[in-house]
């Protein structure tokens, strides 16, 4: 009798002619489905509030955790960058002092600097200056600026330059003071880069020769 209806599933069409059933329930399929929907219990306002508060807690905790991990990643990158910058600064500083004919530290209050001169063709003047959490190296040849590089050292509080003599050998020392932890209980760490300067009267520079025994 035409296409099967949902009402057939209830076994009604077997006992009663479809016409009768239709007369009882009209558009039977639609009605029965909506009747079934009415049986589902809705959520009370208390349940909804509880659900919302639990979801808020879960999302809040997830955000806090994500922030913590992002900060951890950022700190790790900053440490790595600082380590690379310190390494590069050490190499460059030693190279410059080894090649120098004279080096003079200046301690002008909050802005200490080092002036390194080397005679050659052309003669160069290199200046190291302590900036905000960085050490800036500026190179000038024949009075013209040719290079400038900033070594960003996270947590750097202070950098100064000193002259020292050990067994008649002069040294130029870069002394840095840096904060190693965010808490104030841990004192700042003092680190040094020691570079040997050519002794007066010695024309041979102090650069280590290549290992060619």
């Amino acid at each position: 009798m035409g296409r099967p209806l949902a009402i057939d599933k209830l076994g009604l069409s077997e006992s009663y002619p479809m016409r009768v059933v239709r007369s009882q329930y009209g558009k039977s399929k639609k009605m029965l489905t909506s009747g079934r929907r009415r049986t589902r219990r809705g959520m009370t306002i208390i349940e909804l509030l509880m659900l919302m508060s639990i979801l808020a807690f879960v999302f809040g905790a997830a955000i806090v955790q994500m922030q913590l991990l992002m900060r951890l990643g950022h700190d790790g990158r900053a440490r790595l960058d600082r380590a690379f910058a310190w390494e590069r600064l050490g190499r460059q500083f030693r190279q410059d002092v080894h090649d120098a004919t004279s080096a003079k530290p200046f301690d002008a209050g909050k802005d200490p600097s080092l002036r390194i001169e080397s005679e050659g063709k052309p003669s160069t003047v290199i200046e190291y200056r302590f900036g905000k959490a960085e050490v800036v190296r500026t190179e000038a040849a024949s009075g013209k600026k040719v290079a400038s590089e900033a070594y960003a050292l996270t947590g750097l509080i202070e950098a100064r330059f000193e002259e020292r003599v050990d067994s008649k050998q002069p040294f130029i020392v870069l002394v840095s003071k840096r904060k190693i932890a965010k808490v104030n209980d841990i004192p700042p760490r003092i680190e040094e880069i020691i570079a040997a300067l050519r002794p007066p009267g010695n024309t041979e520079n102090t650069s280590r020769k290549e290992a060619t025994p």
């Binding site: 059933v21 009747g35 049986t39 639990i54 879960v58 790790g76 067994s167 760490r189 040094e192 020691i194």
Partner: protein, 155 residues
């Protein structure tokens, strides 16, 4: 006709309003407890990871400090006049106070070998090793640095 109209009300129970009302009660609390437990596990794991990262940071920091110290010591040693560079002389060299304070129980080993096979005649090999303790009270992997110095040619 009346019989016929009554028949459709013998629908299955699940379709009749109100019959299955009690079955879903309490499911929300179980779901909430499960999600909170999963979150607690995730947070515990995160804290563990944070702890490991902090340990790694500390280890890297110590190694970097030791590297700076080794480079500074080698700078001093290589500029020492060739004849003054003797095993007795290097015994007087010690780690800086900052390194002693920052590394746990640090130890410095210095060796000077004259006319070493790797450097050849007229050379001195300077070997430097810095060690420090780890959390298990054992020695961490040491930091080594080796350099050679040569006698200046006589004019």
């Amino acid at each position: 006709m009346m019989k016929v109209t009554m028949k459709p009300f013998s629908l299955p129970e699940r379709l009749i309003a109100g019959k299955g009302r009690g079955r879903r009660r309490g499911s929300l609390m179980v779901e909430a407890a499960a999600s909170v437990m999963m979150l607690a596990i995730a947070m515990t794991l995160t804290l563990k990871v944070v702890g490991w990262v902090a340990l790694e940071h500390r280890a890297t920091d110590r190694r970097q400090l030791a590297m700076t110290e080794a480079a500074n010591l080698m700078e001093r040693l290589t500029t020492t006049p060739y004849d003054e560079l003797t095993p007795d002389r290097v015994k007087t060299i010690a780690l800086s106070s900052e390194t002693k304070a920052s590394l746990p129980d640090p130890a410095l080993h210095l060796e000077v070998n004259g006319d070493d096979a790797s450097g050849g005649k007229g050379s001195k090999k300077i070997s430097l090793r810095i060690q420090w303790r780890n959390r298990a009270d054992g020695w961490d992997a040491p930091l080594r640095l080796t350099s050679w110095v040569y006698r200046s040619p006589t004019p």
